[in-house]
């Protein structure tokens, strides 16, 4: 039971991360290769707050805000550089975060932060993570239907044209980065308290790529597709535990095959098979 509970909790955290990235990259068109940095920022901020005695809900909120505020900073960078340049800048943000944390004794450096107070039990974390994931899915669906979602679409497709019809491109980019990175911060805060232990390596470039893979495998831009992608990629290592030795081989091959044969991801597959466009 505990096993299924912990897998479900991780799946929910990954849904939160992937939905957040999808808001930035799928809805607003700003490719980010550094999403794990915001996961880490949330985790570190919440952990430090909790260790310092801040109550759990406030610590989580702190993680959300710190990640969101740094997200806004990166949003400003997105005003200056575009497309592939932006992708590499966000990747750089990830390396910069990690490189800085690794060297700061007050952040635990390589030893990480341990003994983070844990106010909930396994069921509590599962409920919290799943609840937060559901709330984010609902938010994502709402954003898509609202005028914000439409404006994101305009920015994603042609930001110069969007400007000329009065859309505040800068404002929307920053809003997308804020919501998306704050969501990652939320996942980080929950993760830190659940495992009571965080180390820099958890938030590395591979993690960013994994989150991106969830979004792309699910079908970039499609909320339901991204949820499916996040759950699938969480379960996959678990399903493939019996092939320990070939796990990464199969994982890499799957990424490749999905992109090769269904570039729209799972959502694209469903659209072709059933003619239904997933929200």
């Amino acid at each position: 039971m505990d096993y299924y509970l912990s897998v479900a909790t991780f799946a929910a955290l990954n849904v939160i991360l992937a939905i957040g990235l999808n808001l930035i990259s799928g809805f607003c068109g700003q490719v980010s290769l550094g999403h794990a940095a915001f996961y880490g920022l949330g985790a570190y901020a919440a952990a430090l707050a909790s260790v310092a005695g801040v109550p759990f809900p406030l610590a989580i909120l702190g993680g959300v805000l710190v990640a969101g505020v740094f997200g806004i900073v990166v949003g400003f960078a997105a005003l200056r550089v575009r497309e592939d340049f932006l992708a590499i800048v966000t990747m750089g943000v990830g390396f910069l975060f990690l490189g800085a944390v690794r060297k700061q004794p007050w952040l635990g450096a390589e030893m990480g932060i341990a003994k983070i107070p844990s106010p909930l039990d396994k069921w509590g974390y599962a409920a919290l993570a799943i609840g937060a994931a559901v709330a984010l899915v609902l938010l994502s669906l709402h954003v898509r239907r609202s005028w914000m979602g439409r404006a994101f679409g305009a920015v994603a497709q042609d930001e110069d044209a969007a400007r000329t019809i009065g859309i505040d491109v800068a404002g929307y980019k920053i809003a997308a980065f804020f919501i998306g990175t704050a969501a990652a911060g939320l996942a980080g805060g929950i993760y830190a308290h659940m495992t009571q232990l965080i180390i820099p390596d958890t938030f590395n470039f591979i993690q960013s790529i994994t989150i991106l893979a969830m979004v792309v495998i699910g079908g970039i831009g499609s909320t339901y597709g991204v949820v499916a992608g996040a759950i699938l990629l969480t379960l996959m290592p678990e399903l493939f535990r019996f092939i320990n030795d070939y796990k990464l081989l199969v994982y890499g091959a799957l990424l490749l095959l999905v992109m090769r044969f269904s570039p729209g991801g799972l959502a694209g597959m469903i659209q072709r098979a059933f003619g239904v466009r997933l929200a």
Binding site: H142, V143, R145, S146, W147, M148, R150, A151, G153, A154, Q157, D158, D160, A161, A162, R163, T164, I165, G166, I167, D168, V169, A170, G171, Y172, I174, A175
Partner: protein, 250 residues
């Protein structure tokens, strides 16, 4: 008071003066044509007026208010609309959705307000009315990537009109259209102007522009060469030379 004025605008790229010391003014209700041979600086001047480029020196005034450093989307919100020389539709949206994006200016101006609002019926109605006015409502629900250029040019005009602009800047709206299409589109421009929208038109199609504009500005080598009533301007020797020079070089 002039609706739009450029005062002594200059900009240089890598030491080359693309626009040098140009002043111009457009009064409320006017239909002004801006012409000049290739490389004269027309598009650069238009970009200075719309805010895509910031001038090295000089000012841009809208109703006497200095808007030189104002971001583009804020100008659009003031009633300052433009169409692009190369059409820039949102390709994965339908024509109606393209126009709706502009029609909902009040809602989309602020991201957080946009998040609170889902209802699109009002915007849809206005968009459909504009598409009908431009005669392309039959393709309203087709994706922009799937419709021909003539439709996109009109859609772009509809999108600009959806902003309820007071000033419309048109960058070569007739380019790429055949003669019949161009004439029809030019008539539409006159009609819009008659409806109360001030228009500044950058155009290469001299026949149409002299036909519909009431005043012409001629740009040459980044400076204003001539200005006045179309037929009189076109009769001037220096204007003819400027255009002939272009041909001689070409």
């Amino acid at each position: 008071m002039m609706l739009l004025a450029g005062e002594r605008l200059s900009i240089a790229f890598g030491g080359v003066h693309a626009v040098e010391d140009v002043s111009l003014a457009v009064a409320e209700g006017e239909l002004v044509g801006l012409i000049g041979p290739n490389g004269a600086g027309k598009t650069t001047l238009l970009r200075l007026l719309t805010g895509i480029l910031a001038p090295d020196s000089g000012r841009v005034l809208f109703e006497g208010r200095d808007i030189t450093r104002m971001p583009i989307h804020r100008r659009a919100q003031l009633g300052f609309a433009l169409t692009h020389q190369i059409v820039r539709p949102f390709r994965d949206m339908t024509l109606a959705e393209n126009v709706m994006m502009a029609a909902a200016g009040g809602v989309t101006a602020r991201p957080w307000r946009a998040l609170a609002k889902v209802d699109a019926r009002g915007a849809r109605e206005r968009a459909m009315a504009l598409l009908a006015r431009l005669g392309i409502d039959d393709a309203a629900d087709k994706l922009a990537r799937n419709v021909p250029l003539g439709y996109l040019k009109r859609m772009q005009a509809a999108r600009a009109l959806a902003l309820e602009p007071r000033l419309l800047l048109l960058d070569e709206p007739l380019a790429g259209l055949n003669a019949a299409e161009a004439t029809r589109f030019a008539d539409l421009i006159v009609e819009l102007n008659a409806g109360g929208i001030t228009i500044l038109l950058v155009e290469h199609n001299l026949g149409e522009v002299t036909r519909i504009a009431r005043r012409l500005l001629v740009l040459h080598n980044g400076s204003l060469l001539a200005e006045g009533e179309p037929r009189a301007v076109m009769a001037r020797q220096d204007v003819r030379d400027a255009y002939l020079g272009e041909e001689a070089h070409a």
